[in-house]
Amino acid sequence: MSSHLVWSIIRNNNAFLRKKRNINKPFSTEPNNLTNLSSYRYNGLVHKKTVGVVDAPDKKGFTVVYKKATKQNKPRQCIVKRTMKSGPRRSLAKLERLLKANKYRTDLTKAALRRASAVLRSQKPLPAKKQKAKKQE
């Protein structure tokens, strides 16, 4: 059924919804959500085409997960994973090209790039904070 229909059923009531006090925007923990916000655009379940960006299994680079639009009812065959290992600039460019060239959810490109950069940044070694503490002592 159309994504709009499913969204209006799900929007206020689903297993991934996270609402907390004093925070106006509800979050969502479903796997293919680029911003983790619970909204129609970013929802990872409702649409025929979805983009997800995850940490690559060996902690180097990230994996792009996207849905095949034709295999809607077959969850096992639906998802395609592509790991981007080359350095940050190249993988981000690859991501962007992947989405734009296939006209695949171009409204998500910015969010996808952001998430990919965040993943890459998290993989960089942490800056040496311990030295500073020693000096102060």
């Binding site: 059923i9 689903n14 479903e30 009812n73 969850p75 096992r76 065959q77 998802i79």
Partner: protein, 380 residues
Amino acid sequence: MSLATARPLVSVYNEKSEEIKEYPIALPAVFKAPIRPDVVNFVHQQLSMNHRQAYCVSDKAGHQTSAESWGTGRAVARIPRVRGGGTHRSGQGAFGNMCRGGRMFAPTKPWRRWHRRVNVNQRRYALASAVAASGIPALVLSKGHVIDQVPELPLVVSDKVQELTKTKQAVQFLRRVKAWSDIQKVYKSQRFRAGKGKMRNRRRIQRRGPLVVYHKDQGLRRAFRNIPGIDLISVEKLNLLKLAPGGHVGRFVIWTETAFQRLDRLFGSWKVPSAEKKGYNLPQPKMSNTDLARLLKADEIKKVLRVPQKKVVRRVRRLNPLSNTRAMLRLNPYAAVLKRKAILQTRKRLQKKPVAKVAAEKAKAPEKKKTPTKKTPTKK
């Protein structure tokens, strides 16, 4: 009407979760029924009342005394008090809901209306919605079931499953069909109930897992019943409380082949009324095409709309012409001329002033010299 939405073919999987390519089944029309979570919720609520057992207070409770009020004049409240003496109980208040040992306010009665009736059509509507929702991966995922690796939704399995007798075989089957991760989730969710239910024989709770719908039980029930989270129903007795637990649509359902084929006869399609439910036809949706995005881009609709106004008109701040020269000039361009004139005039006036002043001083000064002044001269 695009209600006759294409009835895609659903492949049947054998117990080893391999696709039997020879005979896919056309999706029964129920799966295209409108999904109405409000109807489902209402019907679920009503139906779940039907399993209730009555509870009430004993009707003698609080009245097994012959208490009578002492009346006025005894410096005590007028509540009926227990007669007699020789025990703590004598003289204590009785009968009232405020008294210790008295009967409660509005004692609960067994003839409370425990059960609810629901219109047959509503019940069927809710069932159809629940079945339809079980065929949409997004809804089943949103309910929390783990179906990422399931080969197809709705999941139809060959009838051999009905002949399974051992739980071990059942587990193996679920593993092969990739439904086992849903059951693992059930295992992880096993916990003690919060609250007094613990002492009332409802100690443990767990999630709901997959629902297996079969046509003929040839051992299936006994094989599957010990697996936590699994529920089993026969197609003939589809139960909303099982198909939409909690009143929420989207349970993960595993159908056996014959059961799946029975659905068409049970519910019919919009063209063909149901063969088994007298005079029943699937509910009509309010919108035949729910894809909003496509509707809004469609030519038929665009034709009727006016041109979109993309320019954003924002509120302009109102400026007071009396204090803001540019605002004044916008209204009255001649004001520039007037102003200029005024400026020039004052300038001229000021130029004349010093000359006049000097002349005035000269006139004053000699007068001052004549009179001796004790005053100190004021500085200028």
